[in-house]
Point group: C2
Chain length 169, copies 2
Amino acid sequence: MQGVRLTPTSYIVLGLLSWVAEATPYDLKRMVAGSVGNLWSVQHAQLYTEPERLAKAGYLTEDRERGGRRRRRYAITERGRAALREWISMPTDDFTELRDPGLLQLFFGADPAELASTQLHVHEEKLREYEEVRARGSSDAPAGPRLALEAGIGHEREWIRFWRRLAKG
Amino acid sequence: MQGVRLTPTSYIVLGLLSWVAEATPYDLKRMVAGSVGNLWSVQHAQLYTEPERLAKAGYLTEDRERGGRRRRRYAITERGRAALREWISMPTDDFTELRDPGLLQLFFGADPAELASTQLHVHEEKLREYEEVRARGSSDAPAGPRLALEAGIGHEREWIRFWRRLAKG
DNA sequence: ACCGTCATGTAATCGGTTACATGATTCT
DNA sequence: AGAATCATGTAACCGATTACATGACGGT
């Protein structure tokens, strides 16, 4: 029940658990892979440690299976929901830098054309992936993920524009 | 002289030191603030620890002032230059996820219009800042930083497009 | 003189990454 | 039956953030 600092990872766990009755770390891993992971990936090891932290702080309940694998199953508590709601309702004015490794290379003098050709492939591939996700998505999908996906697509397109310009001198 | 893993932070330090004869951590801090920092910021404390690591591994020389502040002055070695060159010449196929806190909130159900209005301000401000940097930049500035700045501007514009659409339902 | 801000640095903490391991399943 | 892959978990390490401190300097 100690106070803990809630990080983006915390909110990802809380957010996912707000959608389902309960989940094991492995369930979380799969959920991340299919959704938020595109925008903010999480190492699987963290999906073991983070819920544990959150449970200790009262945001989740932890329930260990008897027998068999003795999997841990987590469920969100009212306190967890409250924390999630509060975070969501307070629009952040943070934003992330690009922090793109390729761009860093460009910054420090990498050959634009060569770098661009590599990066173009990567981003075109990613764009295709996103568009496929979008195509598969049912129309009754929640708005949040859908909009986030749109953002992802927009930025991939921007990357492609950028690198394409560099590719041809 | 041990082997160390070179991180993006390492390359930022190496890259900056490849531009000047020598620099103190504080010099590095200022250099970062005015250039790469826009794309990949570094905490000032790391500009003390990272050069130390790099020096131990032979990528930099460390030289402590006698008397006065006893500042540490670092300079890149041939080995450091080689490492930098090698990294630059090998186009990475890595890329970064958006990892945008606002987008994460949107994903988990934040009110689009409200969030958008906050985020719009932030990104418009950032764009203005970038454009100012661009305007100030001399035309003989190195290509890398200039191109990286263009990328930054492009993405800020993309963010603005995105949030603007959400701002008005 | 005093205050605020810039300059400069160290230490502790901690989230996140990497590495390591073993149990189940599925496929040939 | 054996190989490969998926499922599931723990432990150690380490880079990065946060917090803490003091010195210099310009302005009122």
